[in-house]
């Protein structure tokens, strides 16, 4: 670990520590992992480089995650919307998924990850995609449409407080706040 310490300037490292929930070690580790994703010639300037989505998804922490595309999408600041990630995006992601992030931040981002069409509410379509991600995408593993209908109905009945047919951020956070396991399960550690 000592070797990589010199790779990030001291003040930049301090800044990252202040801006994220990560510790020094975690940032250094993140840097190491991030530069490994870059081709050799670009490793020199890893701070300005962007790693394409396909590379990001080769990380073992994300490879098997059913929400991998959404995670990339939510945390990417790419102008061209190709979901590529800069080092800072990467740190943002790790910060949210870190141990010490507050449940508020976590649930906020969880909502965005589950909001598949990016319209700011979890509507029936989003919920359907969410359930599909949870049960697996394959044809044989999906729920039948009747089951899906029933399940979504149940979800909405329980969490849609204002009965408008969608779950908004407040309602989502309300549900999450009643699930103490959420903070420990919404976690990705490098």
């Amino acid at each position: 670990m000592g070797g990589s310490a010199s790779l990030i300037p001291r003040d930049l490292l301090g800044e990252y520590q202040e801006l994220t929930f990560l510790s020094k070690q975690e940032i250094l580790l993140a840097y190491k992992r991030f530069s490994e994703l870059l081709p050799k010639e670009e490793r020199e300037n890893a701070f300005s480089a962007r790693v394409p989505k396909s590379q990001i998804l080769t990380l073992p922490e994300l490879r098997a995650n059913p929400f991998q595309h959404r995670i990339c999408h939510v945390f990417s600041t790419s102008e061209t919307r190709d979901d590529s990630m800069s080092f800072e995006d990467f740190l943002d992601m790790l910060s949210v998924f870190s141990d010490s992030a507050t449940s508020d931040v976590k649930s906020h981002y969880a909502f965005r990850i589950f909001d598949f069409d990016d319209d700011g509410t979890l509507d029936r379509k989003d919920l359907e995609q969410l359930v599909n991600c949870l049960t697996g995408q394959g044809e044989e593993s999906r729920l039948s449409s009747a089951e899906m209908e029933q399940l979504i109905q149940n979800i909405l009945e329980e969490s849609d407080i204002d009965r408008d047919g969608t779950i908004n951020l407040s309602e989502f956070q309300h549900v999450v706040s009643r699930s103490p396991d959420f903070a420990s399960s919404f976690k990705i550690v490098l």
Binding site: E15, D119, L122, D162, D164
Partner: protein, 849 residues
């Protein structure tokens, strides 16, 4: 430990009453702002530039109804639903600093137009203490670039202010700052090293990746206990053992190797046991400072137990407030899916398996909803009850039989030990009989219990688990209890030379054999089970890791260690090594042999129950055993630090008598005489504590009732809202969100109205200062008399929303909605207060702002 200490859900500052004050102030000043025309994009172009991430959100009405900061969103065309959280985040952090800052910042937020909003944010951040500020910035759900920008501005602001205040810092402050910086740097390096010391970090991650959080919780608990023992070992070693080394006598017993198992022989004359410690006052230098072994012994152990007690108490309180005070009893089965995915799991196979399990669960859940409750006939019911009774009698009987067996065996053992006392092989193996029998009973009887559980055919698997665990606890605790009785009543009164050492040896053997059985357990229970499951009996499949049984084993081992601390101060060190080995053996066995658990365990509740079990029978029992030993029993005459005293506690009494002679230490004597030895003080203290507990219980009860009532109201009102057609938004004209979309979006308007904007501002402001769009709404429903509205100060249930209007027709849905929202608001507030969840409270607050 970091796996364990989540900062999540533990914001304590959520129900400060001043938030209400601030809410009121804030919202009353918002009016000029809300007059602005929504969707006027020319105003706020600059605002969008930070939102690289959110720009791709389409511009649509529903959004305005959405984000907690929606008062702003209304005016921000290009804002995403997720925009602009910073202010509310800051404000939430702001609740702790002094009131003035708060008032200033929060009122600024409201009155200034949006373009200045960031300035305000910066201003309020700049006025915070450094630590608060860093936390507030960390908590913003923003991109790094945006955060950095804010931070830089804040820093500029701070330097500006600092310059303004004084040109140069004085020498003294410079010195102080330098010291602070170097101290922090030192702390950082220290934490760096500690980080590297955490060998199990990676292991925990791998376990979490394959088996999910429930199995992980066992390992987290194990590391927690390991830390406990490391701490205990360190203080015992440094305060008791090291001084003893200085005064050590030579050990002339021979070492054969078998002592490692029996703990007797050679070890009798080592620092491992109580008997070896001297009762002298150690002083190496003539007339120099001296070290009183008696006091060191009693205070080290005492302080360790006090620290343990506090740690257990606080972690228990924390977990309880997080997980068990749950006023909403209705099921959250389906919506639990929303937060059910375990992002820790990164192994592809594990993901597939988890998905499969979830699928089965969902399907089961769906069929269960339709299934009717089984009705038993009277005869069947009687049979079931008889079956349960029989099972209980059988299990309690086994426990009693086991205890009796252990008791007579141990008495026999003592006689043998007193008679023989030779170092021959026979007597040494005889010593091992008792611990082996105890461990065998502890291992085998649980199988009998689980078999009983299967016979009983419980209706829910949860019941089955709890009953089995309860029986196991009863068994283990009664075995430990009978052993304690034997040690304190039989061994202590026997004619042995040094009964404390005998007890210490007994415990040493028990710990050791238990450890060996634990290793054997993973060999037979998991390894052989896998071999059988994969080759001989294929339908058995891979075994699952039995979290309950393993945790009980850990608790049992820890109980033994705690009892043993007094008799064998280095026992925590041995237990530490044992736990360390268990950790890695269990890990290997888990990875090789087991499959992830099929059912979903409630991880955090489990952790709470583990700690509760560790506290309630185990730790409290140990405390009483230690108490009896220290206060009541006569220490041996010939060995140990307390030889010649009437009880161990007499050492403290003697010390106080000595202290009385010095005027400097009069306060210690005063504390001792008036607080520690006086019954009156303890009487007052305990009655005080009882009163507080009673009050808190009443408050919680009241809040629960309140929440229940309010929840009912929400349900009723929501029903009413949905059943009324929303026809109050037909008119076109001014460019307001609802008018733009007309009837088509009445859903959205409904939501916007009651959930986000209207009511969440309403309850806390006088009616005259209602936001503009509300006024418009009221103008439309002309007959409403909103001037009559009197908002009760604390936003109580009886807020006179009913006064809002008497008119039927268009007004009704709105009124209903209003009331619904007020109720929602209040429910959330009360719930938040009850539940201790920061999210809800902050959300409520955000809406109010």
């Amino acid at each position: 430990m970091s796996y364990y200490h989540n900062e999540a859900f533990e914001n304590p500052d959520y129900h400060f009453s001043e938030t209400l004050e601030i809410d009121r102030r804030g919202s009353s000043q918002r009016n000029p702002f809300s007059h602005q025309t929504p969707y006027d994009s020319s105003l706020h172009d600059s605002y969008g530039e930070y939102r690289g991430r959110e720009q791709n959100y389409p511009v649509a009405i529903p959004m305005a109804s959405l984000g907690p900061g929606s008062d702003y969103n209304q005016d921000l065309p290009s804002t995403s639903p997720y925009g602009n959280f910073t202010d509310s985040f800051i404000r939430r952090r702001n609740r702790r600093p002094p009131d003035e800052i708060f008032m200033a910042s929060s009122s600024m937020f409201e009155t200034e137009p949006v373009c200045c909003e960031e300035e305000d944010l910066v201003g309020s951040l700049a006025s915070m203490p450094t630590k608060e500020r860093i936390k507030a910035i960390q908590k913003m759900p923003e991109t790094m670039r945006k955060k950095r920008e804010i931070r830089n501005k804040v820093l500029q602001e701070i330097t500006k202010k600092a310059k303004h205040r004084r040109a140069q810092p004085s020498c003294c402050t410079q010195c102080l700052q330098g010291a602070a910086v170097s101290f922090r740097r030192f702390g950082n390096t220290l934490s760096e090293y500690f980080h590297q010391l955490r060998v199990w970090h990676k292991t925990l991650k791998i376990i979490g990746a394959e088996f999910g959080t429930s199995v992980l919780s066992y390992f987290v608990f194990l590391t927690w206990l390991l830390n406990f023992n490391i701490f205990s070992f360190l203080i015992n070693f440094s305060f008791i053992t090291i001084p003893q080394f200085l005064a050590a006598e030579p050990n002339n017993l021979s070492f054969t190797g078998l002592e490692l198992f029996t703990g007797a022989g050679y070890f009798q004359q080592t620092v491992l046991y109580y008997g070896f410690y001297t009762n002298a006052t150690i002083s190496k230098i003539e007339n120099g400072p001296s070290y009183n072994m008696q006091l060191a012994y009693i205070f080290t152990v005492g302080i360790y137990f006090v620290i343990c007690f506090l740690i257990l108490l606080f972690s228990m309180a924390k977990f309880f407030s997080k997980n068990f005070i749950n006023p909403q009893e209705f099921s959250v089965n389906a919506s639990k899916l929303l937060c059910t995915w375990d992002f820790n799991i990164t192994n592809e196979k594990a993901v597939k398996l988890k998905q499969k399990n979830l699928r089965t669960q969902i399907k089961e859940g769906l069929t269960e909803v339709n299934k009717e409750v089984l009705n038993f006939s009277a005869m069947e019911r009687v049979l079931r009850i008889a079956m349960h009774l029989l099972a209980w009698v059988a299990s309690l009987g086994t426990a009693v039989a086991a205890c009796t067996g252990v008791y007579f065996l141990s008495i026999n053992n003592l006689e043998l030990f007193m008679k023989g006392h030779g170092n021959d092989l026979e007597s040494q193996t005889a010593m091992l009989v008792l611990p082996v029998i105890v461990s065998l009973l502890n291992t085998l009887i649980p199988f009998f219990f689980s078999w009983l559980g299967h016979l009983e055919k419980f209706q829910s698997p949860g019941q089955h688990i709890y009953v089995t665990i309860t029986r196991n606890i009863i068994l283990k605790i009664s075995i430990v209890g009978i052993l304690c009785y034997y040690w304190l009543n039989v061994v202590a009164t026997s004619e042995s030379q040094c009964w404390e050492t005998l007890v210490g040896q007994d415990i040493y053997r028990l710990v050791l054999v238990d450890f060996i059985f634990c290793l054997l357990g993973s060999f037979f229970g998991e390894f052989l089970r896998r071999i059988i499951g994969t080759t001989v009996c294929l339908n058995l499949g891979l075994p699952e890791f039995d979290i309950g049984r393993n945790v009980l084993d850990l608790i049992y081992a820890q109980t033994l260690t705690w009892i043993g601390i007094l008799f064998s101060p280095l026992l925590p060190g041995i237990q530490m090594i044992a736990f360390f080995i268990v950790f890695f053996v269990k890990k290997v066995s888990l990875m090789r042999n087991c499959q992830p658990p099929r059912k979903v365990w409630r991880t955090s509740q489990m952790m709470t129950s583990f700690i509760f079990l560790l506290f309630c029978p185990s730790f409290l029992g140990v405390l009483s055993v230690i108490g009896v030993t220290v206060w009541r029993l006569k220490p041996s005459e010939a060995c140990g630090p307390f030889r010649g005293l009437s009880s161990m506690y007499a050492a403290v009494a003697e010390w106080i008598q000595i202290l009385e002679r010095y005027t400097v230490s009069k306060w210690v004597v005063w504390i001792y005489q008036n607080l520690i030895t006086s019954e009156l003080f303890f009487f007052i203290l305990s009655s005080f504590v009882l009163i507080i507990i009673y009050l808190y219980g009443q408050i919680i009860q009241g809040r629960k009732t309140m929440t229940k009532l309010l929840r009912k109201q929400i349900v009723n009102l929501c029903w009413a809202v949905t059943s009324f057609p929303c026809n109050c938004v037909k008119e076109g004209g001014s460019p307001s969100p609802w008018d733009l979309q007309g009837n088509l979006t009445h859903r959205v308007v409904t939501k916007e109205f009651y959930f986000q904007d209207v009511l969440l501002q309403l309850p806390l402001q006088p009616a005259q200062e209602m936001p503009d769009y509300l006024e418009r709404e009221f103008d439309r429903n002309q007959n409403t008399s909103y001037n009559e509205v009197r908002w009760s100060k604390e936003g109580n249930v009886d807020s006179p929303i009913q006064n809002l209007g008497h008119d039927a027709g268009d007004g009704i849905p709105f009124l209903l909605r209003s009331q619904a929202a007020v109720t929602i608001y209040q429910t959330q507030r009360v719930t938040a207060a009850c539940q201790g969840d920061s999210i809800l409270a902050s959300r409520v607050k955000r809406k109010n702002d």
